[in-house]
Amino acid sequence: MLRKMIMPTLGLDMESALIQQWLKAEGDTVAKDEPVVLVETDKATTEIVAPTDGVLKQILRRDGTTVPVTDTIAYIETAEAGDREPEAAPPLNGGTGASPHPGGPDSSTEKLAPSTPESEHSGLRASPAARHEARELGVDLSMVEGTGPGGRIQGNDVRGFSERMAPAPSATPTATPTHAESLAPMPMAPPLPTASVEGRLVPMSRKRRITAERMSLSARTVARLTMDMGVDATEMIRLRQRLQPAYEARGARLTHNDLLIKVVAVALVDHPYLNARWSDEGIVLLQQINIGMAVAVQDGLVVPVIHDAHRKRLDEVSAEASRLVARAREEKLSMEEITGGTFTITNLGMYGVESFTPIVNPPEAAILGVGAMADRPVGCDGEIVLRPTMTLSLSFDHRIVDGAPAAQFLQRVKKLLEEPYLLL
């Protein structure tokens, strides 16, 4: 069926943009989120990505034309069975005629300015069947295009999405498919001829596939920048030691991670661009602060979320984090517990990793990597002394936030960790 591609609103004050150059020609295969056309606004030149997998069927607005926002600029023919979608030729004047996509107007209003991170999920139109299939197949519905009435996601949309994500059934068991090969619809250069190498094919689990999918999406779309900053953990350790007996008396346990979650959440209150989302229409500054914690589980990664972490007391954050980690390990997390994250913390310190460059969890703006805490020599009042330190690595989406404000956020986190009494 045909899907229209529109000139997106790239900023709140943008009214139109100049089509600078089509990167694809009619008849080319395009993948969802693959850049298709370069457009120029009064502020910058931007790539516009394909809204769906398919073939660029018809370009309506050629290079050099200025197009108002939301006007249709091209049609993409998707692989979806088109039997319910009229095959009529799209109007040549572009977008003012009858919409070939019945849900067009509906779905575009829906996507506008989500006021809370939840709205992206709750406002998402999916049939009960699609939601059921998504649970069964481990598919994130927000990544699926709906083909039903009003853009409603239907069961076959989810199944189709899942199938496209699945490894090609023709893969030879002796070959080791590259990561890219397994993600069929991703754009890629023709594979280089590879020498035949013996190996064992490990079929991808749903979880592996989803992890791979999200990481690829991040790598493909996020303008990532990582910056490191050392933190003196002396006071943080002391605070934890002082509080621990009180926690243990209640049968609880306070971890450095709990403190990190609380500190990051409090710091985000004053740095809204780190607690934001990328959308085609613009940057959405989120009201809620929901901190995701990357937890390694069998064959993948899950990110349970502590909602409204900035409003919760430390003991509440701690109790919830420990419950979520336990549920993650038991693979019992509910949909609510893994959705709605606005910022993620990932800690590899326990493996001795000093610092690393985390991958942003789309559509979030940033992720904080936590390195190993250890006694290290530091200069103090002209002397070299041993102090417990660790390195924080902030990866962020440069499309959303620039270097200086990100650094200021990191400074704030450092300050709060080194003087945790400021939390009071």
């Binding site: 039997d83 319910r84 009960p128 069947a129 059921h132 039903g148 009435p149 409603r152």
Partner: protein, 666 residues
């Protein structure tokens, strides 16, 4: 004619003692029950019979123990007077499983089913029509029994009184109408609501004898009932006996009875208390002696004590009781393939064959309805059956929908399978009490002791371009709403025949709705014997895109829509549930799990309709498979008579196509 001269006769001493014993049982029970209601040992309240004992005791002594009786909300006296089972009555008042109705009936439904009591019918006036059913059963079975209706003066102002007396009179049924005139219809004085002086004054209007007797005098009652019973048993028809009596208490135990009755009036009546008076008479006449009568009295007292202590110590019913016994075990057709050459016949012929074959199979089966003889009813379903089975089985009725429907149900309660034909379902409005309050409840409320092998055959639906708003309705949801009724709505001659045969064999009440526009439609029907189980939907057309549930005249409409939509590449799966109760959820749910979409096409108004019910149950069963909201196609206006307006309003092919487009987003 209003009063028949009574011929005094010698009543044997054992009968006199028997009458006294019956009165004593009732009085002791009612006095104890009053104390227990007041002490909170019995739930809520009851309608006590104390004061009126002479009527029940003498009537029941004058008839045979297997003669049918029907009673009212004030029925303790009739149940106890009949079988003397104090425990069954007391436990029923207490809501315990040892009660007559396993505790499901309570005070107003106390009925000794084991002793030919057809029930206590507390909707005032129903006991009169139900007794006509008993008389009809006695005539059909030729078992020599009579049927006695107990009712009050208040009931004689209900339409049922008129319909029942007329039916019994025109058919010379062996029925006694025993009116216990206690002077008050609840709180209203009888003389304020009747222009004639006596209820029995109305008897001549029906061409039957009417008698007034002193209801405080057991011998007077006994004499009148004995004569009327002989008259009834010998084929001379019914008698109306009005026994003037008085209730000691109020309408119920919640009413002291003093607000609308003077103390003088109450005192006057109490002087005429039949129990001490009749005791004195027994001693004076030498029918018994003090020792014998004291012995009887202490026996009754200890029997009552035993009933009370067993009742109070009995455990409450198991909660599973609440959900058991709605239906008697259903008739299960044998899974045999229909035999014989298929013939192409129409629905009228298919229905006619089903009734005739069942009449041949079961010689007890009767059918009642207006005009069902000569022309075979307004649509001709029973044409020729009167000649074949005679007027005792194909029973033409006056225009008395409530009366003959109740009579059919009463006959079914007495074990005679019956069909009542209500010409148009719109007229069932007049017959709802016996269908809803009696037939639907009987099996459950009798604790499983009664079953109701009755079929309410009726026509329903629009499309005739003539009948208009009150002869075109689709009221199936009303009946499907009532627990205890089965509802059948076939769509083709094969189903009409097979399902009607099953309906007739069912021990449960079945509302069998025949759509007027289907009577002349033809289909293949095998010549041989077959019947179709209830609760098995028919897949009329397989398809992958949208499930459509339609019944009766909507089935051909749905199939036509499927044909049209197939040209667009949309494949409908059309399912005809055939029976709405029981509903074949599994077949529909299985289909919806495949298609993800359901549209219900029904003729009935949509609000609170059976289509809405299907949406509810299928929605619950298939939520995780749904791709679109479930749609119910239907109207919300009466069907207008104008052919143009009716065609516009009546749901059909185009409405369904529009709805299917809607759920597919086309």
């Amino acid at each position: 004619m209003a009063e028949t001269e009574l011929t005094p006769r010698v009543v044997p001493a054992d009968v006199l003692r028997d009458i006294y014993r019956r009165m004593l049982l009732i009085r002791s029970f009612e006095e104890r029950a009053r104390e227990m209601f007041q002490a909170g040992q019995l739930p809520r309240r009851g309608h006590l019979y104390a004061g009126q004992e002479a009527v029940a005791a003498a009537t029941l002594a004058a008839i045979n123990d297997d003669d049918y009786i029907t009673s009212t909300h004030r029925g303790h006296g009739h149940a106890i007077g009949r079988g003397g089972d104090l425990l069954g009555a007391m436990a029923e008042l207490a809501g315990k499983s040892a009660g007559f109705c396993r505790g499901k009936g309570g005070s107003m439904h106390v009925s000794d089913f084991d002793h030919a009591m057809l029930g206590a019918f507390p909707i005032v006036g129903a006991s009169i029509t139900m007794a006509v059913g008993g008389g009809l059963a006695a005539r059909t079975l030729a078992n020599g029994r009579i049927s006695v209706a107990f009712f009050g003066d208040g009931a004689s102002n209900q339409g049922t009184f008129h319909e029942a007396l007329n039916l019994a009179a025109i058919w010379d049924l062996p029925v006694l109408f025993v009116c216990e005139n206690n002077g008050y219809a609840i709180f209203t004085k009888q003389e304020n609501v009747m222009r004639v002086k006596n209820v029995s004054d109305r008897a001549p209007a029906y061409g039957i004898p009417g008698v007034v007797v002193d209801g405080m005098d057991p011998l007077a009652v006994y004499e009148a009932v004995s004569q009327a019973a002989v008259r009834a048993r010998t084929g001379h028809g019914p008698t109306l006996i009005e026994a003037m009596t008085y209730r000691w208490g109020g309408h119920s135990t919640g009413d002291p009875g003093t607000g609308y009755r003077s103390r003088d009036e109450m005192a006057e009546w109490k002087k005429r208390d039949p129990i001490p008076n009749f005791r004195a008479y027994l001693l004076e006449s030498g029918a018994t002696d003090e020792q014998t009568i004291s012995q009887m009295e202490s026996q009754v007292a200890s029997q009552l004590e035993a009933a009370v202590s067993l009742t109070l110590s009995a455990p409450d019913p198991d909660r599973s009781e609440a959900f058991s016994g709605l239906f008697a075990p259903s008739y299960e057709p044998e899974a045999t393939e229909p035999s014989g050459e298929p013939r192409r016949i129409n629905t009228l012929q298919a229905l006619n064959e089903a009734i005739a074959e069942e009449m041949e199979r079961d010689p007890r089966l009767i059918m009642l309805g207006e005009d069902i003889g000569g022309i075979g009813g307004p649509f001709g379903v029973s044409k020729g059956l009167l000649d074949r089975f005679g007027p005792l089985r194909i029973i033409e009725t006056p225009i008395s929908e409530n009366g003959f429907t109740a009579a059919a149900i009463g006959a079914a309660l007495a074990g005679v399978p019956a069909i009542a034909e209500i010409s148009y379902i719109d007229f069932a409005t007049l017959a709802l009490d016996p269908i809803v309050n009696v037939a639907a409840k009987a099996h459950y409320m009798s604790g499983g002791k009664q079953s109701v092998p009755v079929v309410i055959r009726t026509e329903g639906g629009g499309g005739s371009a003539a009948d208009g708003p009150t002869h075109s309705q689709s009221l199936e949801a009303w009946f499907a709403h009532i627990p205890g009724l089965k509802v059948v709505m076939p769509s083709n001659p094969f189903d009409f025949k097979g399902l009607l045969k099953t309906a007739i064999r069912e021990p449960n009440p079945v509302v069998f709705i025949e759509h007027k526009m289907l009577y002349r439609s033809k289909g293949e029907v095998p010549a041989g014997e077959y019947s179709i189980p209830f609760g098995k939907a028919a897949l009329k057309r397989p398809g992958r895109d949208v499930t459509v549930v339609a019944w009766a005249a909507m089935v051909p409409q749905a199939l036509a829509a499927a044909e049209t939509l197939a040209k667009e590449g949309v494949e409908l799966e059309v399912i005809d549930p055939r029976t709405l109760v029981p509903f074949d959820l599994e077949t529909v749910a299985e289909s919806v799990r495949r298609t993800g979409r359901l549209v219900v096409l029904q003729e009935a108004p949509v609000a609170a309709s059976f289509g809405a019910e299907i949406a509810r149950v299928v929605g619950e069963a298939t939520f995780d498979w749904l791709e679109a909201p479930i749609k119910v196609v239907g109207t919300m206006v009466p069907l207008p008579a104008s052919p143009v307006l009716e065609a516009f309003v009546l749901p059909g092919e185009q409405h369904l196509i529009d709805a299917v487009h809607g759920v597919l987003g086309l």
